[in-house]
Symmetry: C2
Subunit: 148 residues, 2 copies
DNA sequence: TATTGTTATACTCTATAACTATA
DNA sequence: TATAGTTATAGAGTATAACAATA
Protein backbone atom coordinates (compact mmCIF):
# COMPACT_ATOMS: atom_id res chain seq x y z
CA UNK A 1 0.00 0.00 0.00
CA UNK A 2 2.74 2.43 -0.80
CA UNK A 3 1.56 5.03 -3.18
CA UNK A 4 0.97 5.51 -6.83
CA UNK A 5 -1.35 2.59 -7.52
CA UNK A 6 -4.22 4.84 -6.53
CA UNK A 7 -3.05 8.10 -7.99
CA UNK A 8 -3.63 6.69 -11.46
CA UNK A 9 -7.39 7.10 -11.07
CA UNK A 10 -8.47 10.38 -12.67
CA UNK A 11 -9.46 13.01 -10.14
CA UNK A 12 -12.77 13.56 -11.96
CA UNK A 13 -13.77 9.96 -11.34
CA UNK A 14 -12.68 10.09 -7.73
CA UNK A 15 -14.70 13.24 -7.15
CA UNK A 16 -17.82 11.73 -8.70
CA UNK A 17 -17.46 8.54 -6.70
CA UNK A 18 -16.94 10.44 -3.47
CA UNK A 19 -20.04 12.58 -3.86
CA UNK A 20 -22.18 9.61 -4.86
CA UNK A 21 -20.89 7.61 -1.90
CA UNK A 22 -21.59 10.30 0.68
CA UNK A 23 -25.07 10.83 -0.77
CA UNK A 24 -25.68 7.11 -0.54
CA UNK A 25 -24.55 6.92 3.08
CA UNK A 26 -26.58 9.95 4.11
CA UNK A 27 -29.75 8.45 2.64
CA UNK A 28 -29.05 5.18 4.36
CA UNK A 29 -28.60 7.04 7.64
CA UNK A 30 -31.94 8.80 7.13
CA UNK A 31 -33.66 5.54 6.25
CA UNK A 32 -32.23 3.81 9.33
CA UNK A 33 -32.91 6.63 11.75
CA UNK A 34 -35.63 6.52 14.35
CA UNK A 35 -38.78 8.17 12.99
CA UNK A 36 -39.65 9.57 16.42
CA UNK A 37 -37.33 12.23 17.69
CA UNK A 38 -35.18 14.82 16.00
CA UNK A 39 -35.04 15.36 12.26
CA UNK A 40 -31.70 15.51 10.51
CA UNK A 41 -31.44 19.28 10.29
CA UNK A 42 -32.51 19.64 13.92
CA UNK A 43 -29.83 17.16 14.99
CA UNK A 44 -27.19 19.09 13.08
CA UNK A 45 -28.24 22.45 14.54
CA UNK A 46 -28.25 21.10 18.10
CA UNK A 47 -24.86 19.44 17.67
CA UNK A 48 -23.36 22.65 16.40
CA UNK A 49 -24.87 24.72 19.22
CA UNK A 50 -23.50 22.25 21.72
CA UNK A 51 -20.01 22.46 20.30
CA UNK A 52 -19.92 26.19 19.63
CA UNK A 53 -22.09 27.66 22.39
CA UNK A 54 -24.53 30.54 21.70
CA UNK A 55 -24.55 31.29 17.98
CA UNK A 56 -26.48 33.51 15.59
CA UNK A 57 -28.76 32.28 12.84
CA UNK A 58 -26.46 33.68 10.18
CA UNK A 59 -23.37 31.93 11.58
CA UNK A 60 -25.15 28.61 11.80
CA UNK A 61 -26.42 29.01 8.26
CA UNK A 62 -22.95 29.79 6.94
CA UNK A 63 -21.44 26.80 8.73
CA UNK A 64 -23.95 24.43 7.17
CA UNK A 65 -24.14 26.09 3.72
CA UNK A 66 -27.83 26.96 3.91
CA UNK A 67 -29.62 30.30 3.70
CA UNK A 68 -30.41 32.16 6.94
CA UNK A 69 -34.12 31.74 6.25
CA UNK A 70 -33.73 27.95 6.14
CA UNK A 71 -31.76 27.84 9.37
CA UNK A 72 -34.27 30.23 10.92
CA UNK A 73 -37.07 27.76 10.23
CA UNK A 74 -35.14 24.92 11.89
CA UNK A 75 -34.34 27.07 14.93
CA UNK A 76 -37.95 28.26 15.22
CA UNK A 77 -39.11 24.64 15.36
CA UNK A 78 -36.48 23.75 17.99
CA UNK A 79 -37.56 26.78 20.01
CA UNK A 80 -41.20 25.72 19.78
CA UNK A 81 -40.17 22.34 21.23
CA UNK A 82 -38.25 24.04 24.06
CA UNK A 83 -34.86 22.66 23.02
CA UNK A 84 -33.22 26.03 22.27
CA UNK A 85 -33.77 29.50 23.66
CA UNK A 86 -33.08 32.88 22.13
CA UNK A 87 -31.00 35.53 23.88
CA UNK A 88 -30.39 39.13 22.85
CA UNK A 89 -26.96 39.96 21.49
CA UNK A 90 -25.09 42.08 24.07
CA UNK A 91 -24.04 44.83 21.66
CA UNK A 92 -25.92 44.39 18.38
CA UNK A 93 -29.70 44.67 18.61
CA UNK A 94 -30.22 43.04 15.22
CA UNK A 95 -28.62 39.75 16.12
CA UNK A 96 -30.15 36.92 18.11
CA UNK A 97 -28.08 34.31 19.89
CA UNK A 98 -29.49 30.80 20.15
CA UNK A 99 -28.40 28.42 22.90
CA UNK A 100 -29.37 24.93 24.04
CA UNK A 101 -31.74 24.62 26.99
CA UNK A 102 -31.15 21.90 29.60
CA UNK A 103 -33.91 19.98 27.85
CA UNK A 104 -32.10 20.44 24.56
CA UNK A 105 -28.86 19.02 25.93
CA UNK A 106 -30.70 16.00 27.27
CA UNK A 107 -32.74 15.47 24.08
CA UNK A 108 -29.64 15.61 21.96
CA UNK A 109 -27.77 13.12 24.12
CA UNK A 110 -30.59 10.61 24.24
CA UNK A 111 -32.19 10.77 20.81
CA UNK A 112 -28.94 11.16 18.92
CA UNK A 113 -27.59 7.98 20.47
CA UNK A 114 -30.58 6.03 19.16
CA UNK A 115 -30.33 7.67 15.76
CA UNK A 116 -26.75 6.59 15.17
CA UNK A 117 -27.09 3.07 16.47
CA UNK A 118 -27.08 1.67 12.97
CA UNK A 119 -23.88 3.45 11.86
CA UNK A 120 -22.17 2.45 15.10
CA UNK A 121 -22.95 -1.20 14.40
CA UNK A 122 -21.76 -0.93 10.80
CA UNK A 123 -18.50 0.74 11.84
CA UNK A 124 -17.88 -1.93 14.46
CA UNK A 125 -17.72 -4.50 11.66
CA UNK A 126 -14.79 -2.76 9.96
CA UNK A 127 -11.14 -3.55 10.59
CA UNK A 128 -9.29 -1.18 12.94
CA UNK A 129 -7.22 0.00 9.96
CA UNK A 130 -10.37 0.79 8.03
CA UNK A 131 -11.80 2.70 10.95
CA UNK A 132 -8.59 4.71 11.10
CA UNK A 133 -8.94 5.60 7.41
CA UNK A 134 -12.50 6.80 8.00
CA UNK A 135 -11.39 8.81 10.99
CA UNK A 136 -8.72 10.60 8.96
CA UNK A 137 -11.19 11.08 6.15
CA UNK A 138 -13.71 12.71 8.48
CA UNK A 139 -11.34 15.58 9.13
CA UNK A 140 -10.62 15.92 5.41
CA UNK A 141 -14.32 15.93 4.53
CA UNK A 142 -14.88 18.73 7.02
CA UNK A 143 -11.99 20.66 5.51
CA UNK A 144 -13.46 20.26 2.04
CA UNK A 145 -16.89 21.39 3.23
CA UNK A 146 -15.38 24.48 4.85
CA UNK A 147 -12.88 25.35 2.11
CA UNK A 148 -13.15 28.72 0.39
CA UNK B 1 1.45 7.57 11.80
CA UNK B 2 1.55 4.08 13.08
CA UNK B 3 -1.57 3.23 14.93
CA UNK B 4 -3.12 3.59 18.31
CA UNK B 5 -3.04 7.36 18.70
CA UNK B 6 -6.34 7.48 16.85
CA UNK B 7 -8.01 4.42 18.27
CA UNK B 8 -8.33 6.16 21.61
CA UNK B 9 -11.21 8.29 20.31
CA UNK B 10 -14.51 6.68 21.31
CA UNK B 11 -16.34 5.11 18.41
CA UNK B 12 -19.52 7.02 19.33
CA UNK B 13 -17.75 10.31 18.82
CA UNK B 14 -16.20 9.17 15.57
CA UNK B 15 -19.58 8.08 14.23
CA UNK B 16 -21.21 11.39 15.14
CA UNK B 17 -18.39 13.37 13.58
CA UNK B 18 -18.51 11.31 10.40
CA UNK B 19 -22.22 11.74 9.86
CA UNK B 20 -22.07 15.46 10.60
CA UNK B 21 -19.14 15.86 8.20
CA UNK B 22 -20.80 14.07 5.30
CA UNK B 23 -23.99 16.06 5.84
CA UNK B 24 -21.98 19.24 5.80
CA UNK B 25 -20.17 18.34 2.58
CA UNK B 26 -23.36 17.27 0.83
CA UNK B 27 -25.03 20.58 1.63
CA UNK B 28 -21.98 22.45 0.45
CA UNK B 29 -22.08 20.47 -2.80
CA UNK B 30 -25.76 21.32 -3.25
CA UNK B 31 -25.12 24.99 -2.54
CA UNK B 32 -22.22 25.10 -5.00
CA UNK B 33 -23.96 23.19 -7.77
CA UNK B 34 -25.24 24.84 -10.90
CA UNK B 35 -28.89 25.79 -10.44
CA UNK B 36 -29.66 25.02 -14.08
CA UNK B 37 -29.46 21.40 -14.98
CA UNK B 38 -30.01 18.20 -13.08
CA UNK B 39 -31.11 17.99 -9.47
CA UNK B 40 -29.18 15.84 -7.04
CA UNK B 41 -31.49 12.83 -7.13
CA UNK B 42 -31.65 12.98 -10.91
CA UNK B 43 -27.86 13.03 -11.12
CA UNK B 44 -27.62 10.02 -8.84
CA UNK B 45 -30.21 8.03 -10.80
CA UNK B 46 -28.53 8.78 -14.13
CA UNK B 47 -25.09 7.87 -12.76
CA UNK B 48 -26.38 4.56 -11.50
CA UNK B 49 -28.15 3.75 -14.77
CA UNK B 50 -24.97 4.54 -16.64
CA UNK B 51 -22.89 2.23 -14.47
CA UNK B 52 -25.41 -0.61 -14.18
CA UNK B 53 -27.28 -0.53 -17.48
CA UNK B 54 -31.05 -1.06 -17.67
CA UNK B 55 -32.44 -1.33 -14.14
CA UNK B 56 -35.84 -1.57 -12.48
CA UNK B 57 -37.35 1.07 -10.23
CA UNK B 58 -37.22 -1.28 -7.25
CA UNK B 59 -33.52 -2.09 -7.72
CA UNK B 60 -32.60 1.58 -8.03
CA UNK B 61 -34.64 2.38 -4.93
CA UNK B 62 -32.93 -0.36 -2.93
CA UNK B 63 -29.48 0.78 -4.01
CA UNK B 64 -30.14 4.33 -2.85
CA UNK B 65 -32.16 3.49 0.27
CA UNK B 66 -35.36 5.20 -0.84
CA UNK B 67 -38.87 3.84 -1.37
CA UNK B 68 -39.87 2.69 -4.88
CA UNK B 69 -42.45 5.48 -5.05
CA UNK B 70 -39.74 8.09 -4.47
CA UNK B 71 -37.47 6.64 -7.12
CA UNK B 72 -40.47 6.35 -9.43
CA UNK B 73 -41.08 10.07 -9.17
CA UNK B 74 -37.46 10.84 -10.04
CA UNK B 75 -37.53 8.47 -13.03
CA UNK B 76 -40.86 9.89 -14.26
CA UNK B 77 -39.34 13.37 -14.29
CA UNK B 78 -36.23 12.14 -16.15
CA UNK B 79 -38.50 10.40 -18.65
CA UNK B 80 -40.51 13.58 -19.14
CA UNK B 81 -37.23 15.34 -19.99
CA UNK B 82 -36.27 12.59 -22.45
CA UNK B 83 -33.16 11.50 -20.55
CA UNK B 84 -34.32 7.97 -19.77
CA UNK B 85 -36.63 5.57 -21.57
CA UNK B 86 -38.67 2.67 -20.25
CA UNK B 87 -38.47 -0.82 -21.72
CA UNK B 88 -40.61 -3.87 -20.95
CA UNK B 89 -38.99 -6.62 -18.92
CA UNK B 90 -38.39 -9.66 -21.18
CA UNK B 91 -40.02 -12.23 -18.91
CA UNK B 92 -41.88 -10.40 -16.11
CA UNK B 93 -44.73 -8.18 -17.26
CA UNK B 94 -44.88 -6.33 -13.96
CA UNK B 95 -41.36 -4.97 -14.11
CA UNK B 96 -40.13 -1.97 -16.09
CA UNK B 97 -36.51 -1.48 -17.07
CA UNK B 98 -35.21 2.07 -17.32
CA UNK B 99 -32.24 2.95 -19.50
CA UNK B 100 -30.42 6.14 -20.49
CA UNK B 101 -31.24 7.69 -23.85
CA UNK B 102 -28.46 9.16 -26.00
CA UNK B 103 -29.63 12.55 -24.76
CA UNK B 104 -29.38 11.26 -21.20
CA UNK B 105 -25.78 10.13 -21.67
CA UNK B 106 -24.86 13.51 -23.06
CA UNK B 107 -26.73 15.47 -20.41
CA UNK B 108 -25.05 13.52 -17.65
CA UNK B 109 -21.59 14.01 -19.07
CA UNK B 110 -21.98 17.72 -19.61
CA UNK B 111 -24.02 18.89 -16.65
CA UNK B 112 -22.33 16.65 -14.13
CA UNK B 113 -18.93 18.04 -15.05
CA UNK B 114 -20.17 21.55 -14.29
CA UNK B 115 -21.84 20.43 -11.08
CA UNK B 116 -18.68 18.95 -9.59
CA UNK B 117 -16.33 21.71 -10.61
CA UNK B 118 -16.21 23.08 -7.09
CA UNK B 119 -15.34 19.76 -5.45
CA UNK B 120 -12.70 19.12 -8.09
CA UNK B 121 -11.05 22.44 -7.27
CA UNK B 122 -11.22 21.76 -3.53
CA UNK B 123 -9.70 18.30 -3.92
CA UNK B 124 -6.92 19.67 -6.07
CA UNK B 125 -5.78 21.75 -3.10
CA UNK B 126 -5.19 18.68 -0.91
CA UNK B 127 -1.89 16.83 -0.60
CA UNK B 128 -1.55 13.64 -2.65
CA UNK B 129 -1.54 11.68 0.63
CA UNK B 130 -4.77 13.31 1.70
CA UNK B 131 -6.37 12.53 -1.64
CA UNK B 132 -5.34 8.89 -1.20
CA UNK B 133 -7.03 8.80 2.20
CA UNK B 134 -10.24 10.16 0.68
CA UNK B 135 -10.05 7.65 -2.13
CA UNK B 136 -9.76 4.74 0.31
CA UNK B 137 -12.51 6.25 2.42
CA UNK B 138 -14.83 6.44 -0.59
CA UNK B 139 -14.83 2.67 -0.92
CA UNK B 140 -15.42 2.27 2.81
CA UNK B 141 -18.30 4.75 2.79
CA UNK B 142 -19.94 2.78 0.00
CA UNK B 143 -19.47 -0.42 1.97
CA UNK B 144 -21.08 1.15 5.03
CA UNK B 145 -24.01 2.41 2.96
CA UNK B 146 -24.53 -1.04 1.47
CA UNK B 147 -23.95 -3.07 4.64
CA UNK B 148 -26.75 -5.27 5.95
C1' DT C 1 -26.76 51.92 2.93
C1' DA C 2 -25.64 47.41 4.74
C1' DT C 3 -26.81 43.72 7.82
C1' DT C 4 -29.84 40.57 10.68
C1' DG C 5 -33.68 38.43 10.95
C1' DT C 6 -38.79 37.38 9.66
C1' DT C 7 -42.74 36.25 6.73
C1' DA C 8 -44.72 34.40 2.54
C1' DT C 9 -44.46 31.28 -1.13
C1' DA C 10 -42.78 27.52 -4.00
C1' DC C 11 -39.99 23.53 -5.40
C1' DT C 12 -37.48 19.12 -4.40
C1' DC C 13 -37.15 14.91 -2.00
C1' DT C 14 -39.08 11.58 0.49
C1' DA C 15 -42.71 8.96 3.01
C1' DT C 16 -47.26 6.41 3.74
C1' DA C 17 -51.56 4.69 1.99
C1' DA C 18 -54.53 2.91 -1.51
C1' DC C 19 -54.87 1.13 -5.99
C1' DT C 20 -53.98 -1.81 -10.54
C1' DA C 21 -51.72 -5.34 -13.05
C1' DT C 22 -49.05 -9.40 -13.23
C1' DA C 23 -46.86 -13.66 -11.16
C1' DT D 1 -51.19 -14.14 -2.09
C1' DA D 2 -47.09 -11.68 -3.18
C1' DT D 3 -44.65 -8.43 -6.04
C1' DA D 4 -43.88 -4.23 -9.31
C1' DG D 5 -45.41 -0.17 -10.27
C1' DT D 6 -48.66 4.09 -10.11
C1' DT D 7 -51.43 7.77 -8.08
C1' DA D 8 -52.62 10.81 -4.28
C1' DT D 9 -51.34 13.24 -0.36
C1' DA D 10 -48.35 15.06 3.27
C1' DG D 11 -44.18 16.56 5.73
C1' DA D 12 -39.25 18.06 5.86
C1' DG D 13 -35.77 20.90 3.90
C1' DT D 14 -34.45 24.30 1.17
C1' DA D 15 -34.70 28.49 -1.96
C1' DT D 16 -36.07 33.29 -3.54
C1' DA D 17 -38.45 37.61 -2.76
C1' DA D 18 -40.21 41.27 0.04
C1' DC D 19 -40.20 43.31 4.44
C1' DA D 20 -38.88 45.46 9.28
C1' DA D 21 -35.50 46.72 12.61
C1' DT D 22 -30.94 48.05 13.75
C1' DA D 23 -26.07 49.47 12.69
Amino acid sequence: MKASSETSIPLETAVTELSLAIGQLLRRLRAESNPDGLTWSQTVALARLEKAGPTTTADLARAESVKPQSMGATLAELEREGLVKRHPHPTDGRQVLFALTAEGVEARRKRNAAKQKWLLAAMAKLDPDERRVLLSATALIKRLAEAD
